[in-house]
């Protein structure tokens, strides 16, 4: 892609030191994001998707968290080395976040008007009246009915879908260049999910921002993302353009994920294929390929050596010792 580079994450490692031992949450992930590009990060619960973006935002509680290594170069500045006051200017203004559960991510005792205007007054140096007017515009823009009248309402007076719209309005208030959406549709029911995805696609075009969209719903990814990263146990196992990932998945884990997806064109009464076993225990330092214990194509080498990401096609990298097309070691 010809678009300029926006964010470059290199060898990010995040650990949590807990009473039970060290949790290896993110184990050296690297990726790049260009301006205006949408990157989807997929993987099952606990694979380090959220932790990886919270690390970039500097929102990991330290201690117990620790960024063991890595850099996140955002417009030639390393977010991981930035001082807190500087970081506060980036958060919300340049990089905004939308969280998973709109029921819990709005402050229950503050009116939604206050929650949005606060950010505008702080980052955009707007006067109160201007900020209020802008808030009304924003809420109208995200499709909240009758916004002027609802500014003084509290979050509990809104439905889940409407709250997520409020969250999105809040995130987009200062015109961010990067929006990080951490499973923004997971807590919503399917019809509302579709509305929110449509809304985000429309807003993305209007704002021209880049997005990192974290999800475990591969269906949502297909209609939204430019590139996809598949994560497993804190590692990136496959990275590809969205079309090649669906047409030509190369990692056994991605294949298994896609096989577990319900499809409308599949025969009725056919059972979904689940992945055997459970995700690895992150308390154990990774050794060998993390997916080896659950992999159908496992070979001896998988258990001792962890494969690194290798290009298998243009703009398509996987971390696997075997070629899934032939079943032979590469």
């Amino acid at each position: 892609m010809d678009r300029p580079l926006l964010l470059e994450v290199n060898d990010l490692k995040t650990r949590f030191h807990t009473a039970e031992g060290t949790i290896y949450a993110v184990n050296g992930i690297s990726y790049v994001l260009h301006e205006g590009e949408t990157l989807a990060v997929v993987g099952e619960s606990g694979c380090g998707k959220s932790v990886s973006v919270l690390s970039i935002m500097g929102l990991i509680p330290i201690p117990p968290g620790q960024i063991a290594s890595g850099s996140a170069i955002y417009r030639s500045r390393d977010l991981l080395k930035m001082a807190e006051p500087e970081m506060e200017k980036v958060r919300g203004k340049e990089i905004a976040m939308v969280f998973q559960d709109p029921m819990t991510s709005l402050n229950p005792v503050l009116t939604i008007g206050k929650q949005i205007t606060e950010s505008l007054e702080k980052h955009m140096a707007m006067g109160h009246d201007v900020a209020v007017r802008r808030t009304v515009e924003l809420l109208e823009w995200v499709g909240l009915p009758d916004p002027a009248r609802r500014l003084g309402d509290y979050p509990h007076q809104f439905s889940g879908g409407m709250r997520q719209r409020v969250m999105i309005a809040m995130a987009l208030a200062c015109g961010p260049t990067l929006l990080i959406a951490d499973e923004p549709t997971t807590a919503l029911d399917v019809t509302i999910q579709a509305q929110i995805v449509e809304l985000v696609i429309r807003l993305r075009q209007e704002v021209g921002m880049a997005m990192i969209w974290i999800t475990h719903d591969l269906g949502v990814v297909a209609g939204l993302a430019d590139r996809v990263i598949v994560m497993y146990a804190g590692f990136i196992v496959e990275e590809a353009d969205v079309d090649s990932l669906y047409e030509d998945p190369r990692h056994p884990y991605t294949l298994a994920l896609l096989a577990a997806l319900p499809r409308v064109d599949r025969r009725r009464h056919q059972r979904l294929k689940s992945i055997q076993g459970a995700p690895p225990n992150l308390l154990v330092e990774p050794h060998g390929c993390p997916f080896a214990p659950r992999c159908e194509r496992v070979i001896d080498r998988c258990r001792t050596e962890n494969p690194s990401l290798q290009a298998v096609a243009p703009r398509h990298r996987i971390a696997c010792w075997i070629d899934v097309q032939t079943g032979e070691p590469r």
């Binding site: 935002m57 929102l59 201690p63 006051p85 970081m87 506060e88 200017k89 980036v90 958060r91 919300g92 203004k93 905004a96 976040m97 969280f99 998973q100 559960d101 819990t104 991510s105 709005l106 402050n107 229950p108 005792v109 503050l110 606060e118 950010s119 702080k122 980052h123 509290y154 969250m167 809040m170 995130a171």
Partner: protein, 317 residues
Amino acid sequence: MSSEAATAIPQLKADELEAPPLTLRQLTWRRFRRHKMAMFGVAMLVLLFIYSFGGAFFVSEADANLTETAARLQPPSAAHPFGTDTVGRDILARTIYGGQISLIIGLTAMLVEVILGILIGAAAGYFGGWIDAVLMRFTEAVFVIPQIFLLIVMAKYFGGKVPNIELFGRTFSGSVVVVIVIIGATSWMYLARIVRAEFISLKEREFILAAKATGTPAVEVIFSHILPNCMAPIIVSATLAVAAAILAESYISFLGLGVQAPTATWGNMLDSAINYIDEGAWWYWGFPSLLILLAVLSINFLGDGLRDALDPHSRAV
């Protein structure tokens, strides 16, 4: 039979169907209003404030301090409705001016306590780690010393070191300030613990992460995002703290270590009355005691009512 059943169904009028749901504030007010003891407490407190502050329009402070040795220890009469004390001062006038000081001490000592409790509890709960460890060990250290003992020692140590204060054209004994500060400084521990516990649970909530993700600095997260979420327990314990402070003031003034004459309080009026309990001069100690009792009781009722009304789990509506 069937027609009877049909008429038994209550018919809602259109405006009843369309009545908007009650807001949290309305619900709280409704629960509070139905709490009979709390409403009694509020009414009594209003009367006590009118008595102490409104009474000042009818009786001057000079009257309250006027000694009239010819009229010593007079029982209640038309001239002195509450009687007089050993130096002939009018007890009614003294309870009015004493009430002002007692109530002001109660409220301001509560403010000192609330500010200390919130700052210490919030810092410990929000930052955690060694800050929490140091602040909580300090809190426990203050806790293990009995408050009365601490009050007496501090009152003795600081008493008389603060000069008198001129305010609104009146002279207040400097001991009033000492009493306010030492009561506040010896009673913030419960509140600090409550605030710390609230902060520890609230800081992990997703909306706090969301607030940080919009670039909100720590101080703002603490005071404008977390603190408003734990106002209910703070309001309740602040209310009860007023009653406790009035009692504490009475106690140390009764021991002669609190507010010094000529400034009257309900507490130091009792100090001089102690020797006359056996003498039949019931009005001397009776009226100040009754006022302390009413004030403390009413504030406690108010606190109980607030606790029930502000508790979101309370089912009573």
